[in-house]
Each structure stands twice: as C-alpha cells, then as structure tokens.
C-alpha cells in the first residue's frame, strides 16, 4: 500500500520532468523523418480511412447508436483506442529500453511509463479535435454530458499507468510478455467495440455483458457516451461496471508498484 502511494506521488512530484522528457521524446522520434510530427496525425487518419471503407461502407449495417452516423461514432471510439493501444505497448517497453541510461544517475525509474503515456497525448488531442470536428459536421453539438469526458480521461490515465508500471516490470523479467501483450491488444481491438457496436449486434446477451467488463471498453464506451450525449456514468449497467473497472485498476496498480519496487534495484542486472 505504502509503496503504491510512494510511486504514485513520484509521478506528481516529477511531473515537470515527465512533460519535458515527453516533449523531447516526440522530437527525437520524428527527427529523421521529412514529415516530422505530421506522422502523428497522418498515421491514424490513414487507419481510420481504411476502417471506414471496410466497416462503414463495404459492410454497411446502419447507425451503431440511434441517431449517430457511423463515421463520428467510430472516430470518437478509435481515438482513445489508438492512444491506449500505443501507450500500453510503449509503456511496457519503457523500462527495458531506458534502464541503461537511467541506471547511471539519480532518476526515478517509475516515471518512465508515464513519459511514454504523456508523449502519446499529443496525437490523442489532435485526433480528439478531429473527432469533434466530425461531430459538429454531423450536427452533434456539445451538451452538459461532455463533463463526463474529464472523468473518463482520468479513468484512462489511471488504467494506462497501472498497466504501464505492471507491464514494464514484467517485460524486464520475461521478455515474451511484450509479444503476448501485442496479441492480447490485437484481440481486444475487436472486443472493445471500437469498430462495431456489439451491444446492438446479434451477440448473445451473456457474451455482450461479459465483453462489457473489459476495462478498455469501459473507457471507450464512456468517452463515446459522454461526447455523443448518450448516457451517464451512474446509470446501470455503468455503475456496476465502474466498480469492476476501478477494482481492476487498483489490483493491477498495487501489484505493479510492488513488483516495480521489488525489482527496481535489479533492473540493470536482469537485462
């Protein structure tokens, strides 16, 4: 418990370092590219284009939520998904990649996952701006329900950090975990309702309810509901799922921070 508090407070104490290093990382990654930071936006746009053609046009199946066209619905969901997908993968590699550097100086290793998460935020905000633009074009206007977005954003960050600190430690100990994680995320992509709304599909009810427990789905669906004005956190079944979500985050966080602390000193020897 104490370890968890300590590591979480390290994130806030070192917030400035996190932000600066994220900025530096963004610049360094795209330095050798001619289009530079434009790739952060271009890449997801191309992906969205493909998914729209396949799922929106070719396999046309009507509006996923009543009164919401497919394109804004899909983009609002895929924005957090692409961000979470990349952040989980980047964060899981973070300690493994940087430990040689961090081990020779006084540096809080526990902020390495946060740096990756914050670094990916740039493209998240750009994509979100694009989603809002698409919504306005489709006559979906801001309402009071948008306030919930802040809550879901906090949920997303908590989930990402919990997974980040856990995965980054496990990846150092077991290299295979990184590949496993990639496969799991690929599978979750189809199970988190990013491209089609399984709640309105012909899936068996039990299966839908099980899929709803997925924490990624909770964040994606929550952001969709808040931005598209379709529901509230305290409505059922959201409330029970909220408890499941936070318990999941809590358990991953406490185990992750514990493992991180236990192996922090040995990271260099373990690689």
């Amino acid at each position: 418990m104490h370890t968890m508090y300590q590591i979480i407070s390290e994130q806030f104490q070192n917030f400035k370092i996190i932000r600066r290093m994220a900025k530096f990382g963004d610049r360094a990654t795209y330095q050798s590219h001619y289009l530079g930071l434009a790739w952060e936006v271009l890449n997801p746009l191309i992906q969205i284009g493909i998914y729209y053609l396949v799922f929106g046009v070719a396999l046309k199946r009507g509006d996923p939520m009543p009164g919401v066209p497919y394109l804004p619905w899909m983009v609002v969901g895929i924005t957090p998904w692409l961000f979470m997908n990349r952040s989980v993968l980047d964060a899981s590699k973070s300690v493994y990649q940087e430990v040689g550097l961090a081990s020779k100086m006084k540096f809080p290793v526990s902020i390495l996952p946060s740096i990756k998460i914050v670094g990916n935020l740039t493209s998240f905000w750009t994509m979100l701006g694009f989603s809002v633009f698409l919504m306005l074009v489709n006559h979906i206007f801001p309402t009071i329900s948008w306030i919930q977005f802040i809550y879901y954003f906090i949920c997303m960050m908590a989930l990402l950090y919990a997974l980040g600190i856990f995965n980054s430690t496990v990846t150092v100990l077991i290299r295979d975990w990184q590949i496993t994680l990639q496969s799991i995320l690929r599978m979750l992509f189809y199970m988190s309702g990013v491209l089609f709304n399984f709640a309105t599909s012909n899936f068996p009810v039990i299966l839908i309810r099980i899929l709803e427990l997925n924490p990624f789905y909770y964040v994606i669906n929550g952001m969709r509901e808040s931005l598209l004005n379709k529901g509230w956190v305290w409505q059922e079944p959201n409330l029970t799922i909220t408890i499941v979500f936070w318990m999941f985050v809590f358990i991953v966080m406490i185990v992750g921070t514990f493992l991180h602390n236990k192996f922090r000193a040995n990271f260099v020897d373990l690689i």
Binding site: M105, K106, F250
Partner: protein, 362 residues
C-alpha cells in the same frame, strides 16, 4: 541539535540475490515473498560514515569490495537493504560507462541527461556551450555517440555531470580513461568544486589521485568499513596491506579471498541487528527491548518492504472479491441488492424480454 552533514550512512547493508538460472529468477518473481534457496551475497555488511559539507572523501579498496555499491546507494541509484541513508543535496555520479544513449548525438545526450536531472530547456541551453567546450570533442558533438571513442564518451559523460551543478559529485573510477590534458582539466574542475564548498566522493584504485584530491579516505574491505581517517594514514595502511598481500603465496591469497567471500555469503543480518542493538543499548543506557526496537526502526524504517505485507495481501484479496462479485452481478443482470441478499441468483442470469436488435439502448 541539528548536526551539520551532507551524507550520513548508518549501518547500511546491501544484499544481492544470486540467481543461478532464469528459472530461479522466475520463481522469485511469481512467489511474491522471498525465496530462501537462492544464495544471497552481502555486498555491504553494515557501513556507518558521515561526510560533512565541503569535504572530499576518497574511497579505496580491492576489486569487488563494495565501493561502487556504496557510491550507488549514496547517489540514490539503488536502495539499501537495511540501514539509514540521508543525503542532503543533489548528487551527480560520473562512472566509466557514462550512461549515454548511443543512438542519439552528443548534443541530444546533453539535453536528455539535463532533462533527466530536472533542468529546463533554458537551463540546458545556458550550460550547453560550456559542456561542449569542456568535453572538447569538436564537431563530433553532432554525431551519434556510438561513433565516439571511449575517451570521448567518458569526457562527455564527465563534462555533463559536472555542469549540471550538483552539490555532491561522485566520481566512480571515471578519470582513468582520459589522457593527461583531460585529467588535468578534471583536477582543475574538482578543485574548483572544492573551493566552492561542494562535497566530492572519489572512488578510485589510483592511490596517487586519492592522495592528491582527498582530505579523508575510507577503506572498504569486503563489505566492511575497515578504516576511515586522514588520507595519508589510510593510504599508507592500504599500501602496507597490498604489499603484505603480494608477498603471500598464490594459495594463501586465493584462500584469503575465498574466506572473505564466504563471510559475505553467510552474513547473518539478524545477528548483526542484535549486535547493533546491544551496542546501542549500552551506549545510551536503554532497556534491552527498547534498544532492539530502536535498532529495528533504524534498520528498516526507511526501506520500502520487499515483501508484501499481510495487510496489503488482504486488501488485494478483498478488492479481487469485490471485483468478481460485481462482475457476476453485471453479467447476471440482477440488481445489486438482490445479489447481496441471495447470491445464488448470480448463477441464473436474467435476460431482457427482447433480445438482440438494438432494443437494449439506454
């Protein structure tokens, strides 16, 4: 009474687990508590020392005696296993493998290291030119560090470390790579540091360098602090020891090393704690159990536990139960109150009257 010191170590020990195979490593990872079959090696067996402001202290000792472990603990890179460590001020450590990122250029490395030490972009730009000049690597500054020679790398590492303005500079054998000109430059810089009243910790095998730079010297010997005092005194004692050691036969030498290493393997932390408790009790006239309590606090008060506490385990278990319960509630479709009063309903999910096709929208 506030004691004036920069660095204080009290009964610091450091233990390493010696995993022989990947399998053992995994076992200790999944078995969240400590694994007792794995051999432990005590790199430090209880070291206490105090370093005051403006002192430069040399640390000498044979290979593998724990010098680097100690300097790493002081600089906060690795945590101690037990004991009390208090370092007042920012530390900067210079080591041979300078901790540069090989794919980035020298300039980018300066930025990165600066950021990692908590400097802002502006502060880094302010000292950038000084670093480049001090490191004296010319146009190579825009080349990736992987193309540098080892001398250039260590020069850059040293230059960065001294320019990010630490209160406490720890030099871990870093001066042995540079040539004479650079060595002289470093000495000047170190002397400048000394006149500014900064604290320097100098780990080295070169007794000459230690004699030149340090006011006091500590001799670490197989995990123990064998001697600390005036540089001259300690260095002479160390010279004497080395000379005696060289005179011995090969068998005697390896025998001596083996016994010392064996002591480090068999070090009994509980016994050591009791011994310290007794000393504390006698020195301060405390009751036995009070002394024991104080010692235990001294040993473990600052250390984050490497074992999960029972309380944490219960909390995790409780969280797990809550999570599974609500997951079942959600899947079964019953209300929470009904599920609490009659948990068996969780196994009989209810279905909405109309299934499928878009009717379950809120």
């Amino acid at each position: 009474m506030a004691e004036e010191y920069k660095i204080k170590l009290k009964n610091v020990t450091k233990e390493y687990d010696l995993y022989r195979t990947k399998n053992e490593k995994l076992k200790s990872f999944f078995n969240l508590s400590k694994n007792s079959d794995v051999p432990h090696f005590w790199s430090l067996k209880g070291i206490s020392l105090t370093i005051h402001k403006g002192e430069s202290v040399g640390i000498i000792g044979v290979n593998g005696s724990g010098k680097s472990t100690m300097s790493n603990i002081i600089s906060g890179i690795i945590p101690q296993t037990t004991g009390f460590v208090d370092v007042r001020g920012d530390t900067s450590i210079v080591a041979i493998s300078a901790g540069l990122k090989r794919s980035l250029t020298g300039l980018e490395n300066i930025r990165l290291k600066g950021l990692m030490q908590g400097l802002t972009f502006e502060e880094i730009d302010a000292v950038r030119d000084d670093i480049i000049e001090f490191a004296d690597i010319g146009d190579f500054i825009d080349q990736p560090v992987k193309d540098y020679s080892s001398g250039m790398r260590s020069r850059l590492g040293f230059a960065i470390a001294v320019h990010i303005n630490p209160d406490i500079l720890i030099i871990d054998e870093a001066l042995s790579v540079g040539d004479d000109t650079f060595y002289q430059k470093c000495l000047d810089k170190i002397n400048e540091f000394k006149t500014e009243g900064k604290t320097i910790l100098f780990v080295s095998h070169s007794l000459k360098q230690v004699e030149m730079l340090c006011d006091r010297t500590a001799w670490i010997h197989f995990g123990d602090l064998r001697m600390i005092g005036n540089t001259e005194e300690v260095v002479n004692a160390y010279r004497q020891f080395s000379a005696d050691f060289k005179k011995k036969t090969k068998a005697e030498r390896s025998n001596y090393q083996k016994t010392k290493k064996q002591l480090q393997l068999n070090f009994d932390i509980k016994g050591y704690e009791q011994k310290v408790a007794k000393e504390v009790g006698q020195a301060e006239g405390l009751e036995e159990h009070e002394a024991q309590k104080a010692t235990h606090k001294l040993f473990y008060g600052e250390v984050l536990p490497s074992k999960m506490t029972t309380a944490s385990k219960w909390i995790i278990l409780a969280a797990l139960i809550v999570m599974v319960f609500f997951a079942f509630v959600s899947v079964s479709g019953h209300s929470v109150t009904k599920s609490i009063t009659d948990p068996t309903v969780l196994l009989h999910p209810v279905y909405p009257k109309t299934t499928g096709t878009g009717q379950q929208f809120k």
